[in-house]
Symmetry: C2
Subunit: 347 residues, 2 copies
């Protein structure tokens, strides 16, 4: 049940009364065709509702672009928003997007081992998907441009935020409020060892405390898998400490939201008893009144797309774009109880 084979260039040419060559040139806007001919061909093509065969066109040398987008998660807001931004600029440039979801370790092995996108695309975008040396070597086999966004550092032109800076904005905010006993819920992705995002966000915590002259308490750092449920669990662990923290800095809003849930269940007041801050400005922040550090997600996707297009055209382009982040104060952070208490005592 093959559909009536498509209209081809020959038919258009015949109808316009010209050679296939001229028809091709006319349609692709190539020079060397008179105005009238071009018009006739265009008309014929329209009447026949003709569309070039991308295979034939590419085979014969007529460019056409396609890029592969590799992403580790599709159902998470961050990746979706990033993809949305990226797709929009690519679509505007008439570049087709081939999607590859590389979730768990097995997907990873398959993707880098088989390189399914090989020979099918002119460029590749790593969307929040850091790769190791071995994988990088395999990618090289594809012989195409590679751009990274939201995650990978160096080794490829990239667009990202400064995770260290973002982390600092969050922790510094807590410090500024007067917190001294600050915990960190660090996130990891089981399928993405050595995730640079987590590294930067963790460093920020340690540095900030050190600069503030605060001691490092190992028990105040809990590392769990990304995701709300894990955040809730991590918070539970922190609450079981002899001396729980007065504030919690979470690597992501999902983790923070999970923490919030545990605090609520425990009947604790936020930010009265404990303050919580996350990073990303995930939509859930609005719903849970969570203070966070906003990062421009869609914009990163857009910037990555633009960088990619520029490089595809051979134009020069920044190889490293870092977008700014910004603290968004909502209701989950406040001064630590001690301050409030002493302030109350003064009254």
């Amino acid at each position: 049940m093959k559909e009536e084979s498509h209209v081809n260039l020959a038919q258009v040419a015949r109808r316009a009364g010209v050679s296939i060559a001229s028809a091709s040139r006319a349609l692709r806007g190539r020079p060397g065709v008179s105005h009238t001919t071009r018009a006739r061909v265009t008309l014929a093509a329209e009447e026949l509702s003709y569309v070039v065969s991308p295979e034939a066109s590419r085979l014969a040398g007529g460019a056409s672009t396609r890029v592969a987008v590799v992403v580790p998660h599709l159902s998470r807001w961050f990746f979706g928003a990033l993809l949305e931004g990226l797709e929009s600029v690519l679509r505007d440039a008439e570049v087709d997007v081939l999607l590859y979801h590389v979730g768990d370790a097995e997907d990873r092995r398959d993707f880098f081992g088989l390189l399914p996108a090989r020979r099918k695309v002119d460029a590749l975008v790593l969307l929040g998907l850091p790769v190791d040396d071995e994988e990088r070597r395999r990618l090289e086999l594809m012989g195409v441009q590679i751009t990274a966004v939201g995650g990978q550092v160096a080794s490829y032109p990239y667009v990202r935020i400064d995770d260290y800076a973002a982390g600092r904005q969050a922790v510094d905010h807590l410090l500024f409020l007067g917190h001294q006993r600050i915990a960190m819920i660090a996130g990891t992705d089981p399928d993405q060892p050595g995730w640079p995002v987590a590294v930067g966000r963790s460093e920020a915590y340690h540095e900030a405390l050190r600069e503030a002259g605060l001691p490092a308490h190992d028990e105040l750092v809990v590392t769990v898998d990304w995701g709300g449920a894990m955040g809730a669990q991590a918070m539970g662990r922190l609450l079981s400490l002899r001396e729980p923290p007065t504030a919690v800095y979470a690597h992501s809003d999902e983790l923070a939201a999970g923490a919030l849930r545990t605090l609520r269940r425990a009947g604790l007041d936020v930010p009265g008893d404990i303050s919580v801050v996350g990073i990303d400005d995930h939509p859930v922040c609005e719903l849970m009144d969570l203070t966070t550090v906003r990062q421009p997600v869609r914009e990163q996707g857009v910037a990555a797309g633009e960088t990619l297009l520029r490089r595809l055209r051979g134009e020069p382009s920044d190889d490293a774009v870092t977008l700014p982040t910004q603290l968004v104060v909502r209701g989950s952070t406040g001064r630590p109880r001690r301050f409030a208490a002493s302030a109350g005592a003064l009254t």
Copy 2:
């Protein structure tokens, strides 16, 4: 700056000492090639790290499949999860996925007007994207199979949940708890007029109330755009009623979560003062302890992919798959105050 042109079949054939024809047959697993030849060719291909040119292969008749997936939102959990399921089965079948994000009205016009996927794919999947008659007519021009999932009713083979049934599960739950004054926060998508999902979920509400012999109060139905912020706003409107509802049924969890936020801000107790139930079992439910009706999202994507593959192979397949939904009771629903009060009086 073209990369060293790819290795081609001719080179593999030469290295294996056979003709191009045999090499092709060997590599594609076609009959008519001796064992030893096949082995030699395979080896040569491997050594040269050869990969067929999809353009040439397709052009010459060697199939290869590609499908276009059209989706209205990428950053929303529901669509992402659906896509994740779909992509996974398609990837396993070595089918390439071309992504098209059709967000606002303009994107829509462009997509259906230009049909950018035309001639590029062997099938199309409408992922939570209902189309009208005119658009359907345009799609026809592509001459390919079309499958719908999560949204579109009829007109194409589809996979979905029974939105009416899901709505009933939610509303019936509230009725069972003894609620009599139940409000509905209905969702609409400004870019998707006549969204069937909303229709089914609304009908469920009206029918359930009618069957329960409860009067229909227009002021108890608020229709807003999808999304948490709107849910919060809608709840505000409901709270401003002379006699607010004792329970709220929201078309989606995002709306329900927004409603919850407003209730919390108003200092009301949930479910003590007001119960809230949503639909979907969005991850936020876990975080906000929201009762909901779970729908298998990823599974719908998987089912759609399987249906698609089957039809692509010409095998028979169900043209209408409806997956079951299930009530998930969490902490946002309970008996209405009146009951609790009288029960308390008895003690």
